[in-house]
């Protein structure tokens, strides 16, 4: 039986994106001692999507976790989105998801437990679709509810895809349109058409697993998925990790239907300003750049698309393959260049 409970009533109006600001995190995480181990192939220092541990010459384990409070009304859809979002980090590293654990915070005395069942069912369906096994979890009584997964994946140690392997001459390909932050904020204010809202939810539910298959087929070495720090936040991390300069063509970036109009009316979530402050020192915006577009480039994404850096001559073929396998908005959005000292890491035109 479908439960009629509006999950959005449990989160504050204007809750924006629930992620902690990146600067705040950077400032304290650097004080926490971390052990160096040769087996840890990808750790905390490059802001990558997941940790990677080398088991032997043929196998590395990918480990990642993600959870957040509701961003849509329907519990089943929330479960699907939270799971797709958590699984995505494994795919962004070029891996295959094998196992997942539920992370649940739920106020059993305030909300009917059926609602949790719906959330878990949504999550389980996505885990199954990703070809992984749901193997347990952990629950805490807490309000508002939060849901996500801890995910384990595997990858060949020589074929790990990181966010710090972009090479001068590469082109950047983005597989999903951006704007989920603005659309979710607009939905709370009743300013989004049902059609645009549903399209945004469907995009967030869409697994990045097929995109990972395309990346593997083309031997891609550098990618990330776009989430809470917005397109430019993740591009900056790619540029800085790869020690290159990245040039973005703002008008080529695919947008969710309705997102531009929302930002134009001022519906810019607080997370966008937070992200803008984070990237400000590292990104130069061309004079006369469309302000609405600029604010969409820092819009916090939930379960966003894969962003990959690939050799110039492969870009068209990869974009076509991605469009053909379920990411119809895929576009080539920028280029990687040699870093020039004294120039900001990212230029937006």
């Amino acid at each position: 039986m479908k439960t009629e409970f509006d999950l959005l009533t449990t989160v504050e109006q204007g809750g924006c994106s629930a992620k902690l600001p990146a600067q705040l995190l950077d400032a304290i995480v650097k004080n926490i001692p971390v052990l160096k181990r040769d087996e840890l192939l990808v750790g905390t220092d490059t802001h990558d999507d997941a940790a990677v541990w080398k088991v032997d010459a043929d196998t590395a384990i990918i480990s990642t976790t993600d959870f957040f409070p509701p961003l849509c009304s329907d519990p089943y859809e929330f479960g699907q989105i939270a799971a797709a979002n958590a699984l995505s980090d494994v795919f962004a590293m070029g891996g295959v998801a094998i196992m997942a654990l539920n992370l649940v915070m739920f106020p059993s005395s305030r909300i009917d437990i059926q609602v949790l069942e719906e959330i878990l069912r949504g999550g389980a369906d996505k885990v199954a679709e990703a070809g992984a096994v749901l193997a347990g979890g952990h629950t805490i009584d807490d309000y508002p509810p939060k849901y996500g997964l801890a995910v384990t994946g595997i990858v060949h140690p020589d074929r790990i895809i990181t966010n710090c392997a972009a090479l001068p001459g590469d082109l950047l390909v983005l597989a999903k349109p951006i704007g989920t932050g603005a659309i979710v904020a607009g939905q709370r204010l009743g300013e989004v058409s049902q059609e645009d809202y549903q399209a945004a939810l469907d995009g967030m539910k869409l697994l990045n697993s097929r995109g990972a298959e395309v990346m593997r087929a083309h031997g891609i070495r550098c990618a990330t998925d776009i989430t809470g720090f917005g397109l430019l936040g993740h591009i900056y991390e790619m540029a800085s990790g790869s020690d290159v300069h990245i040039r973005i063509r703002s008008t080529a970036v695919p947008l969710l239907a309705g997102a531009y109009a929302l930002v134009d009316m001022g519906c810019i979530p607080g997370a966008s300003f937070r992200n803008l402050r984070y990237i400000d020192p590292y990104v130069r915006f061309a004079e006369g750049l469309d302000y609405n577009l600029k604010m969409l480039l820092v819009d916090a994404q939930t379960s966003g698309g894969l962003l990959l850096s690939c050799p110039r001559d492969l870009a068209e073929a990869i974009a076509r393959d991605l469009r053909d396998c379920g990411y119809p908005a895929t576009a080539i959005i920028g280029a990687v260049e040699k870093k020039v000292d004294g120039q900001p890491a990212v230029m937006v035109e």
């Binding site: 204007g14 204010l189 009316m265 001022g266 061309a286």
Partner: protein, 200 residues
């Protein structure tokens, strides 16, 4: 005259920004209004929005309420219409090489150039830069009938470059009332960066 007040107290982001932007749309050039906000994040975000769009504002605080006095100095916020996406990002430049427009009658030429410069600010998008050289520099001095228009353009973000060699030649360098006295390097840089250059 009493200021129009946008009361965004009790509203969380992005509502205060939406209300601010709506009021901007309803306010005429040089009009002012006050936005009341009672949380710091929304205040900062509205301020950042105004800064990014070159709109002057003053914030004061009384108890726990911020009041932001906004002055609308520009017709258009810094975004072109959606269909203008493909225009060159650099924007265009105007280049005035004479104090007259066209040749034939000097008097008519001066009337035309006044009309031309006073009209530039009505056209969107506004240019990225306006360059004055040779006798064109005379348009930028105190008492020039277009000085006010040029100042408005400058405060809305248009870069105005006045040829320093030319101003020296006409001995009016100390009378230039708008723009930046510039050398050939800066002038050529502005012209070469422009999407296209208009010579009225």
């Amino acid at each position: 005259m009493k200021n129009i007040t946008v009361d965004a107290r009790g509203e969380l982001c992005p509502k205060p920004l939406i209300m601010t932007k709506k009021q901007l749309g309803q306010t005429g050039i040089d009009g002012t209004f006050v936005v009341l906000i009672d949380n710091e994040t929304s205040k900062e975000n509205v301020e950042r929005f105004l800064t990014d769009n070159n709109l002057p504002f003053q914030t004061s605080r009384e108890n726990d309420v911020y009041s932001i006095l906004v002055t609308k100095t520009r017709t258009e916020l810094s975004h072109p219409a959606a269909e203008d996406y493909c225009r060159p990002a650099a924007g265009h430049a105007y280049c005035f090489t004479s104090e007259q427009m066209g040749s034939g009658s000097a008097e008519l030429g001066r009337i035309l150039i006044q009309g031309c410069i006073n009209t530039i600010k009505e056209i969107t998008p506004t240019p990225a830069s306006i360059v004055f050289y040779n006798s064109g520099v005379k348009l930028t001095v105190g008492g020039s009938p277009v000085l006010q228009s040029l100042r408005e353009l400058e405060s809305s973000g248009v870069k105005i470059l006045v040829c320093g060699t030319c101003a020296n030649y006409f001995q009016i360098k100390d009378q230039v009332g708008v723009g930046i006295i510039s050398n050939m390097y800066a002038i050529l840089e502005a012209l070469s960066q422009a999407g296209h250059v208009i010579y009225p």
